[in-house]
């Protein structure tokens, strides 16, 4: 027993013990990874959370020039029925004036309806501009009260610290007056 406990004479380079340590260490690392995976995965959205990830909206009650806020995946989505002037002012803006250049046509499916996620791209506040009495900022879209970002009638960033336009969620018209977000 004592003899077998004695260290084998180290040869040039690797020994049997080096090999065993490497193999044991690698398997332990794989094992720890395999155990860690379910723990990490459990923090991702559960299946019931994913199941409620679409929202249907009826557009009929929204009068021209007004907007509604709907909740999609726990986030506010602004649906705005734009007036002719609002569409015109959005399209008249040259792309060179935009911080995040994007044409208005790329951001809508039907000219009248603008659908954007209503979270300021700066630090996540909800911009004002949904209610007729709200401050809409110098570009007639939305104005974020937290740090003064102003968006235009296409939801594009025009002024203030926010880096990008209000994102457009994936949505589709399920009929002339119905959309489904998600």
């Amino acid at each position: 027993m004592a003899d077998s406990m004695a260290q084998p004479a180290p040869q040039d380079g690797e020994t049997r013990r080096d090999f065993l340590q490497l193999v044991a260490g690698s398997f332990a690392a794989v094992g720890v990874g395999a155990i860690a995976w379910p723990f990490i995965s459990s923090m991702n959205p559960a299946r019931d959370t994913l199941a409620v990830s679409t929202t249907d909206i009826d557009l009929k009650p929204i009068a021209a020039g007004s907007a509604i806020t709907v909740v999609w995946r726990g986030k506010p989505v602004f649906v705005r029925s734009r007036t002719e002037e609002e569409i015109k002012s959005a399209r008249a803006t040259p792309l060179s004036e935009l911080r995040d250049p994007q044409a208005d046509q790329e951001r809508v499916k039907k000219d009248q309806w603008l659908v954007v996620i209503g979270i300021c791209t700066h630090l996540g506040c909800i911009p004002l501009g949904q209610k007729p009495t709200d401050e809409r900022g110098p570009f007639g879209g939305w104005f974020c009260p937290c740090h003064g970002s102003a968006y235009d009638t296409s939801g594009r960033i025009r002024q203030g610290p926010a880096p990008t336009n209000l994102p457009v969620p994936s949505y589709a018209f399920t009929s002339d007056t119905q959309i489904r977000i998600g």
Partner: protein
């Protein structure tokens, strides 16, 4: 070197820099690297390390379960079912946590058995043993409160019955129970405080385990021969010898654990706990979790409310004074020809109590439980104190390195060769 810095033996400059200021590497090397450990451990000495690993598993799975659990009587049951069905790997986390509790008790019962058989509770390890009994009590409280959280029928009625144990105490009993409940029955306040305490207790256990290990590293480990190491020829460094041996045990432990979790996840649970709690209907046959059954059997063996409660608590409290009840100076039962059979009968009684605790309270189980309970206490209170005087122990080996069976005769080749070399 500047004054006030620890003199580190580590060569790696980063480790050395840290170690000189906070000698954690030196401490780990001393306590888990070169720590001299008796060379003759058998696999019973795996179970302390297994219990430690088990505690870590319970805390890890518990923290992630708590992220999805709702401690409210109206939502708790559904939140647990949501964990089982909707949360990614929620079924795995919950089954690992529930069966992890069973594994924890299996491991700890074997760990306690090891201590009882090899006399690990005797001087100088009395305090080490008593801290262990504290850990056992904390584990039982934690397991009990954890079982209440899914808010099934067994959760509710288990909580009702166990908290009502305290009503047995005269005068203050009813007030204590109302205080435990935070109301006039087991209800939402009870569930909330149980969740809070169930989350807290494992960390308390972790702290007490630290004390348990700290005390162990003062006295050093006992060993199957129960004699003290007399020099470096009797010990080996903890690493790699016992890190390797513990790893072997750990692999076997994980196999058993995995078989339970993946093939028989509900074997040790009760189907009734998949029925939401109903305060108006008690299930026809209610029993606690299997690991409480021996003590539950003692409770029911006594035909008196207060007597049963006292005897049940006494069956664990008696372990605190065991180091002074056992008067024999010989630790290991290998050298105690009389104590060994008496202890075997005690173990049998413990298993019998575990069995009858899960049976309905009717004959013949009541009588069996009474006989086994009587022997349980007789062993500690009468047999062990007397044996210390009456028993004639076998001769102890003169050292660990010279096993008693080979004492005197020629040693097998290698068994004793150059023992000083590897010290």
């Amino acid at each position: 070197m500047a004054t006030g810095l620890h003199k580190s033996d580590f060569q790696n400059p980063v480790i050395r820099w840290v170690d000189a200021r906070l000698p954690v590497f030196t401490m780990m090397q001393k306590e888990y690297g070169t720590f001299p450990t008796p060379r003759n451990f058998n696999y019973f000495w795996n179970f302390g390390a297994l219990a430690m690993v088990n505690l870590v598993i319970m805390i890890a799975t518990g923290i992630f379960l708590a992220m999805n659990y709702t401690a409210h009587t109206g939502m708790a049951f559904d939140s647990v079912e949501r964990i089982m069905r909707d949360v990614n790997y929620g079924w795995l986390l919950r089954y690992a946590h529930a069966n992890g509790a069973s594994m924890f008790f299996i491991v700890v019962y074997i760990h306690i058995f090891r201590g009882l058989y090899y006399g690990s509770y005797k001087a100088p390890r009395e305090l080490l043993w008593m801290i262990g009994v504290v850990i056992f009590l904390l584990m039982m409280a934690t397991a009990f409160m954890g079982y209440v959280l899914p808010w099934g029928q067994m959760s509710f009625w288990g909580a009702t019955v166990i908290t009502n144990l305290f009503s047995a105490f005269p005068l203050v009993g009813e007030s204590i129970v109302t205080w435990l409940w935070g109301g006039f029955s087991v209800d939402n306040p009870t569930l909330n405080r149980f969740f809070s305490l169930h989350y807290l207790m494992p960390f308390v256990i972790f702290g007490v385990v630290f004390l348990h290990v700290a005390a162990l590293h003062i006295t050093g480990s006992n060993n199957p021969l129960g004699i003290d190491p007399k020099g470096p020829q009797d010990t080996v460094p903890f690493h790699p010898y016992y890190t390797a041996k513990d790893s072997v045990g750990l692999v076997v432990y994980f196999i058993v654990f995995a078989v339970l979790v993946f093939f028989f996840p509900n074997l040790l649970g009760h189907a009734d706990n998949y029925i939401p709690a109903n305060p108006l209907v008690t299930p026809p046959h209610i029993v606690p979790e299997w690991y409480f059954l021996p003590f539950y059997a003692i409770l029911r063996a006594v035909p008196d409310k207060l007597g049963g409660v006292l005897l049940m608590f006494g069956s664990i409290a008696i372990l605190f004074v065991l180091p002074w009840l056992d008067t024999s100076p010989v630790r290991s039962m290998r050298f105690r020809p009389l104590a060994r059979p008496f202890f075997a009968v005690w173990c049998l009684c413990f298993l019998v109590l575990l069995y009858v605790g899960g049976k309905p309270p009717e004959e013949p189980f009541v009588t069996i439980a009474r006989v086994a309970t009587a022997y349980y206490f007789l062993y500690f209170l009468v047999i062990l104190p007397l044996l210390g005087r009456l028993e004639r122990p076998l001769p102890l080996p003169e050292s660990i390195a010279r096993p008693v069976l080979r004492g005197g005769g020629p040693l097998p080749a290698g068994a004793m060769s150059k023992p000083m070399e590897k010290a």
